[in-house]
């Protein structure tokens, strides 16, 4: 199997996998980064969202041979100090107590973080646009909206 070297959370990682292996399964199974979740495999739910050069994308649709030198960031690498969960979106998520079952939350957080990086004070319409691709079955949408606004204001509700 061919070897691929990709940048994940700022570290160069080399994996030996088939060229069509989705980035999602490389992260989860080869690199042990299980915070990125599988939900549909067809880009419909975004539970698997990661940042690729800062854009939130479904990692289930990105083949390993197409990653190239783009920078991959996962939920494990979102905060500068991961043990403190210091990213404003994570802090806001804890303040609002967003998660229920939690399965979709990495995808929600990565998508919200990408939105706020580009649009620091999004309107409700901009939040609708950015967050609607990410499915949640538990009904955390209302709290996500509150948390995105809180994060935009620096992590306070």
């Amino acid at each position: 199997m061919p070897a691929y070297t990709i940048s994940v959370n700022g570290v160069a990682r080399t994996v030996d996998v088939e060229p069509d292996t989705p980035l999602l399964w490389v992260l989860r199974e080869e690199l042990g980064l299980t915070g990125t979740k599988y939900g549909c495999g067809i880009g419909q739910c975004l539970s698997c969202a990661v940042h690729l050069d800062g854009e939130a994308v479904p990692s289930c649709l990105i083949r390993i041979d197409g990653v190239g030198d783009r920078r991959v960031v996962t939920i494990e690498g979102l905060s500068e100090t991961p043990e403190e969960r210091s990213h404003p979106v994570q802090r806001a998520w804890m303040l609002v107590d967003v998660p229920q079952c939690g399965w979709c939350q990495s995808g929600q957080i990565m998508t919200a973080a990408a939105l706020l990086a580009k649009t620091p004070a999004p309107s409700d319409e901009q939040i609708d646009e950015a967050m609607s691709p990410v499915l949640c079955r538990c009904g955390t949408y209302a709290r996500i909206r509150a948390a995105v606004h809180a994060a935009a204001e620096g992590g306070t509700p």
Partner: protein
């Protein structure tokens, strides 16, 4: 081989030491992380409470966390009585252990109801043991000492000692038989908005779910299952699958053909390549149309679940008669984490890692397959990426145990989204034939409800008492409205499509059917839907109170924009009462939007108001997806929908504003995990009627046909 076994044993020791389940990072900021393997064993004071010499307090929760907040609520009950600093508390899933916990099954909105006393007693008993141990060490009477936030203190002398220092001595004491519980007036946790204990690991990816399990030597397997329900393998050739790089083994198990590989992707490609032919299901090319016919025919042959007065005579004498048929489809649970289970079957024992709602049933299943006694079946409950009833089925446990037994290695069976959606275990279809009669004053005098719906209990192997599945008639057989002549019948069309508990079970369809048909009666009586209900609920003051609160909060009767309507429904289930008022907006093209839902919830007493609000938001979203789009279609004997492209669920932009009013007037504590679901569909459909004059008698709504 021996090398691998050693590694596996080491893995088990590190992750499953002291019967504690996996040592996962469910800790709050500021709390110290317990090392995976401590040199000094923490002390188990009873089945729920473990205190470390490092002062760590760990609660072992025997219920499954699937988003409903059970790790938090159970810990609140324990911590309230134990008297510990909440910020230092950790909670983990308890191992399966029926001697310690009884039957472990999380469902029926029972966790808080069952444990409200039991866990407070456990907390209080542990507290008294710690106090006694400290008092004995000091040579002082226990009555002069008290527990305070993780310490035992003796006020008069100013002496104090930590729980961790006396935990060993306390554990040696006989537990008190009747420990003193705190009076509710002294509660500092129960009734307050305690933050969820599992939020931190769910915002940084650390929370470990079933699908995240990995261990040395483990194979990842996909199962090729028959496309038709009740079908079976006719023949298969493992060759093409084995030719895929990374595929290791291909074996048949009762559920189908297992393709086991080094990775998910190899297993998937191997299964795609598998050469297999299938036998059809027992009813041949079963379809939605055929299922409707079978149900319609069966409805006339139902067994009587309730028969008050003389329905025939009352219908014959009625001034106004109404007839309607209401239909609901099969529904998938569609948890965001697809089903999965990891099993390791060895000659001396079997280990299982999975997100299950039914731990002791998982033990029974594995025991039956392996021939091992249940004490040798260790079940570790992982976080559940949604449950909604689906994860009590344990079909995934059965498959993983069979696969590991056949392959002689640890195996993780993974369902793809399509596997999950098409695996059955659906909320059953139901065909409902309704007749009612009103007298000249518009009072209902007769109500007949004939239900045909496949039986969940029969599907699970239970024998139906008098031919009636109690879960299929809940909220129909016990219709609360004062109607003197009332009959409810039930028939079980025995179809090969597996059916299972789906959040709120029979209430999920019967509250829709009865609350919508009652709305039709109100219309025929030219009465206001809220007042019409209230007039028939003299014996049910809690329902009346909830209805009034919901109506008042929603502004019932106010002027609305064109195309908007308000609808109400009320339901009593799981020991609680809920009334909901939905506002809908129907566009010119007939598409339905729901901008707002008010929930008035009477659950007797409150453990955590924030959890109640979250569960109402959750129930509303879950039920709204079902009401607007939810449906599993059957064609050629199998399920049609497979993924979120052809089976949509509600998206962010369509989330209604959910407002929850909590009523807690001291009635016995009720459940809340399923409560938000049953009344939502009828509230929405009644609102669609208010907006358009069109009744919705078949779900999902899809588009409403706009008249003219």
């Amino acid at each position: 081989m021996s090398g691998r076994s050693l590694t596996r044993r080491h893995f088990l020791e590190v992750t499953g030491g002291a019967g504690a389940g996996l040592v996962l990072a469910f800790h709050l900021p500021g709390a110290r992380r317990l090392a995976a393997a401590t040199s000094e064993q923490p002390v188990l004071l009873n089945a729920w409470i473990r205190i470390g010499t490092d002062e760590s307090v760990t609660f072992l929760v025997s219920e499954s966390e699937m988003g409903q907040g059970v790790l938090t609520s159970m810990s609140m009950l324990l911590a309230e009585e134990l008297s510990v600093d909440w910020s230092g508390v950790r909670a983990v899933h308890a191992p399966a252990d029926r001697k310690a916990y009884g039957r472990q099954s999380t469902g029926g909105s029972t966790s808080v109801r069952t444990n409200y006393e039991r866990l407070r007693v456990a907390g209080a008993a542990a507290r008294e043991m710690l106090v006694s141990a400290a008092a004995a060490a000091w040579g002082l009477p226990a009555a002069e000492c008290r527990a305070q936030q993780g310490r035992v203190v003796h006020g008069a002398s100013g002496r104090s000692v930590t729980y961790g220092a006396v935990a060993d001595a306390a554990a040696a004491l006989e537990p008190p038989s009747d420990p003193a519980l705190r009076p509710p007036s002294e509660f500092t946790l129960i009734g307050t908005r305690v933050p969820r204990i599992d939020t931190p690991p769910k915002v940084d990816g650390a929370a470990a779910f079933g699908l995240d399990v990995s261990m040395p030597g483990m194979l990842t397997a996909l199962v090729a299952r028959p496309p038709a329900f009740g079908g079976s393998v006719k023949r298969f050739d493992p060759g093409p699958a084995l030719a895929v790089p990374g595929v290791r083994r291909v074996v048949e198990i009762p559920a189908g053909v297992v393709v086991a590989a080094d990775s998910f992707w190899s297993a998937k490609k191997g299964r795609d390549a598998l050469d297999v032919e299938w036998e059809p299901g027992p009813l041949g090319p079963l379809s939605d149309e055929r299922i409707r016919e079978i149900c319609r025919e069966k409805a006339g042959e139902g067994r009587t679940a309730r028969d008050d007065g003389d329905v025939e005579a009352a219908l014959a004498s009625a001034a106004t008669r109404l007839e309607a048929v209401y239909e609901v489809p099969y529904l998938a649970h569609a948890t965001m984490e697809p089903m999965n289970c990891t099993a390791d079957v060895r000659p001396d024992g079997c280990d299982i890692w999975t997100g299950t709602q039914a731990q002791t049933s998982a033990q029974d299943i594995a025991s039956e397959i392996t021939g091992l006694p249940v004490e040798r079946i260790r079940v570790r409950t992982m976080m559940l990426g949604g449950g909604f009833g689906r994860r009590s089925r344990n079909d995934f446990v059965r498959e993983a145990v069979h696969a590991s037994k056949a392959l002689g290695a640890p195996v993780k069976v993974v369902f793809t989204r399509e596997d999950d959606m098409r695996a059955g275990s659906y909320r059953p279809v139901a065909w409902n034939q309704l007749s009612a009669g009103l007298d000249e004053a518009g009072r209902p005098i007769a109500w007949e409800h004939r239900i045909a719906s496949p039986s969940i209990l029969r599907d699970l192997g239970a024998r139906l008492e008098n031919g009636i599945d109690a879960t299929a008639v809940e909220s129909a057989g016990n219709l609360p409205y004062a109607i003197p002549n009332l009959r409810v019948t039930y028939a079980d069309p025995e179809l090969p499509v597996p059916v299972h508990f789906w959040r709120s079970v029979g209430n999920s369809q019967n509250v829709y059917v009865t609350e919508c048909f009652l709305d039709e009666l109100a219309e025929a009586a030219a009465a206001d839907p809220v007042e019409f209900r209230v007039g028939l609920l003299a014996e049910h003051p809690r329902r009346v109170r909830a209805l009034r609160r919901a109506a008042e909060t929603a502004g019932w009767g106010r002027a609305l924009p064109a195309g908007h309507g308000l609808g109400c429904a009320v339901s009593e289930c799981f020991g609680s009462v809920i009334a909901q008022v939905a506002e809908v907006a129907v566009a010119d093209d007939g598409s339905v939007r729901v901008p707002r839902v008010v929930c008035a919830v009477d659950c007797g007493s409150v453990v955590n108001p924030d959890t109640i609000e979250a569960q109402m938001e959750s129930g509303v979203v879950y039920a709204l997806s079902a009401t607007l789009f939810g449906k599993i279609s059957i064609a050629d004997g199998g399920a049609v929908e497979g993924n979120f492209d052809d089976h949509p669920i509600l998206r962010f932009r369509d989330m209604p504003r959910v407002e929850t009013v909590i009523i807690a007037e001291g009635d016995p504590i009720g459940g809340i995990g399923e409560l938000g679901v049953p009344a939502l569909a009828p509230a929405v459909c009644n609102a669609v009627f208010a907006a358009t004059g069109r009744r919705v008698r078949r779900l999902p709504i899809g588009q409403v046909a706009i008249p003219g």
